[in-house]
């Protein structure tokens, strides 16, 4: 058997793949956080809860209505995005004039409520969500065995990330969004409906979290706790990357997922600490974050 650094290459690549999958979710979630923060100046603590909600809506659609994975891939982001729009209109829009900390506290409360509701009805144990038949099984790549669904997750997350990046950097709507990030009053004076833009942005961010959730459903167990476990790591990712750049958030997400996978190979005990350790080191060496503009 081929060895690499004294580790069988299969095990090495296997962990690297797990890292890449985790990294895909870090990237999608930190991207959403960065998009929301860029315009709304709110750290969306509920992002993990919305991700969990996405997975759960997919699961409930399947169990109760028999709606499968592919339609869910469309329905779930729309449903979660819609919820995001309602929340923004009813509550978040009242907090913009205040210290950004209130936004964090409000979305924290929201996360507790969403998580609490699902915990109350479904307990803390995970519910399995079958891999869609089209992507069942795996492919032998010669050097390793790749489960098809996992390959799809990596591809899909890349599509989502690049798509969002293109939307923000290359389209007219995106240019309004970037302009409003720099100076909302001026953009409003040019006749752009900034409040609507804010609403849509939160809806987009929430939808992205929901999409990540339904993508995650077949990989991880669908459980009420899946979001809160993830969101704190994603916060660390965001601190490392700095939220100044969309691309930065994406790249940092993937890289840290891989770093976590590598740690699992060489020193498994530290695998859930490594992101935080990297965060501490980055804070010491480059306090503004790797891609950060605002210290």
């Amino acid at each position: 058997m081929t060895m690499i650094f004294g580790i069988p290459i299969q095990a090495f690549l296997g962990q690297l793949l797990v890292g890449l999958i985790n990294g895909s979710f870090y990237a999608m979630l930190s991207l959403g956080l960065a998009v929301i923060f860029g315009l709304l100046r709110i750290i969306n603590f509920a992002h993990g809860a919305l991700y969990m909600l996405g997975a759960f809506i997919g699961y409930l659609l399947l169990v109760h209505l028999g709606i499968g994975y592919w339609p869910a891939l469309i329905i779930v982001p729309l449903a979660v995005g819609l919820l995001g729009i309602v929340v923004e209109r009813l509550a978040l829009s009242r907090l913009y004039r205040l210290d950004p900390l209130y936004g964090l506290l409000f979305t924290f409360g929201m996360a507790l409520v969403i998580e609490g509701i699902f915990r109350f009805y479904y307990g803390v144990s995970g519910n399995p969500y079958a891999v869609p038949t089209l992507l069942a099984g795996g492919t032998n790549l010669g050097f390793m065995f790749l489960p098809n669904y996992r390959g799809w997750v990596v591809v899909a997350s890349l599509i989502v990330c690049i798509g969002t990046w293109l939307l923000i950097e290359k389209t007219r709507l995106g240019s309004y969004l970037r302009a409003a990030t720099e100076n909302p009053e001026l953009v409003q004076a040019f006749g752009v409906n900034v409040p609507l833009l804010l609403t849509l942005t939160y809806g987009l961010g929430a939808g992205l979290a929901g999409l990540a959730g339904i993508l995650a459903a077949p990989v991880y167990q669908v459980s009420p706790l899946m979001g809160s476990d993830l969101i704190i790591v994603v916060f660390a990712v965001v601190v490392i990357g700095g939220m100044g750049s969309i691309l930065g958030a994406i790249v940092t997400g993937y890289v840290l997922g891989l770093a976590e996978g590598l740690t699992k190979v060489f020193y498994p005990e530290a695998s859930n600490l490594v992101v935080f350790v990297i965060m501490a080191i980055v804070l010491l060496l480059r306090p503004a974050g790797l891609f950060g503009r605002d210290a």
Partner: protein, 324 residues
């Protein structure tokens, strides 16, 4: 926090009112164990001290820490371990817990003050989560079981803490000492500099204050006092568990402070009493606590940002001006 400026304007009047409330509160607390189940009051006192320690940072320095559970729960572990495994007397265990929390505060604070505002909150949250993972894996915490059966022992080798009233008045004494320490810190020249950082950090820098050092000092003091509360809690309940180091616990102390009134001396005590009382009530009703906590959080942020005590000051003093 901008509305905190409001409190500044009413400082003198609210100070007089607080003195009255404090005198009333002390009388009430001395009488409490004869009327209410003492363990419950002791729990309230521990959380009240925890919330006041947290408020020293949020209310008077303007720093939102989302990781204070690490100090509270960490100190509980240190104290419980020293008392149970090494056979230390309770007062030494509590001192060790407090010192340990202060040391952790020094490390976490040193990293966290490198960023401001929202990032500060995220960093403290992440570092506390790191400590949580450490506690899950480290052998001395005994994992999911926690450190159980911690002996209460004899205070200074004389006072038997297994007698409920002895325990109660020891906790009350610690609580009052802690609150007095916070009151002294807040009303000292040092505390004034902390407030100036809260109000306008750049201005404080331009006036020549090494803002970073003051923030770090406030962080360490807040961590040490939160640790004191946690260590005492470990002696009272005779165990230390993972619950006290989770992010939910960090959120809970924020809620207590927010509900009672950020930047007031009495507010966090009131908030802690209400939250602990609510949890006790809900525990028997079957209604999930997290949903209730979350809803209170959202209501507080949307329409009740001054908190109960802050709102009461605004009403009674008749100068409610400005938007909360």
């Amino acid at each position: 926090m901008s509305e905190a400026t409001l409190h500044e304007a009413r400082a003198a009047a609210s100070m007089r009112m607080e003195r009255g409330l404090v005198a009333l509160g002390i009388v009430g607390l001395v009488a409490a164990p004869f009327l209410i189940y003492p363990i419950f009051v002791m729990k309230m006192l521990c959380f009240a001290l925890f919330a006041c320690a947290f408020n020293l940072l949020l209310g008077y320095t303007g720093l939102l820490s989302f990781g204070h559970a690490a100090f509270f729960g960490g100190a509980a572990y240190f104290c419980a371990y020293a008392v149970k495994a090494w056979g230390w007397p309770p007062e030494a265990g509590i001192l060790l817990g407090t010192a340990g929390a202060a040391l952790m505060g020094l490390v976490m604070g040193f990293l966290a003050i490198r960023r401001q505002g929202i990032y500060f909150a995220m960093i403290t949250l992440a570092l506390a989560q790191m400590f949580y993972f450490f506690c899950v894996q480290a052998p001395f915490t005994e994992g999911e079981d926690g450190i159980q059966g911690v002996p209460r022992g004899h205070l200074f080798g004389v006072v038997d803490l297994n007698v409920p009233m002895n325990m109660y008045f020891f906790v009350l004494a610690i609580f009052l000492i802690g609150i007095f320490a916070i009151w002294r810190i807040v009303n000292s020249p040092f505390g004034m500099i902390l407030r100036s950082i809260r109000e306008n950090e750049n201005r404080a820098i331009s006036l020549g204050y090494s803002v970073g050092r003051y923030k770090l000092a406030a962080f360490v003091m807040s961590a040490a006092l939160a640790g004191l509360a946690g260590a005492v809690k470990a002696i009272v309940f005779q165990f230390a568990t993972l619950t006290d180091v989770t992010w939910q616990m960090s959120g809970e102390v924020i809620l207590m402070t927010l509900l009672g009134g950020i930047g007031t001396m009495v507010g966090p005590v009131v908030g802690a009493g209400l939250v602990v009382g609510l949890e006790n009530t809900l525990a028997t009703s079957g209604f999930p606590v997290t949903i209730a906590t979350g809803v209170i959080f959202m209501i507080c942020v949307l329409i009740f940002r001054r908190g109960i005590v802050g709102e009461a000051y605004a009403r009674w003093l008749g100068r409610a001006g400005g938007k909360g």
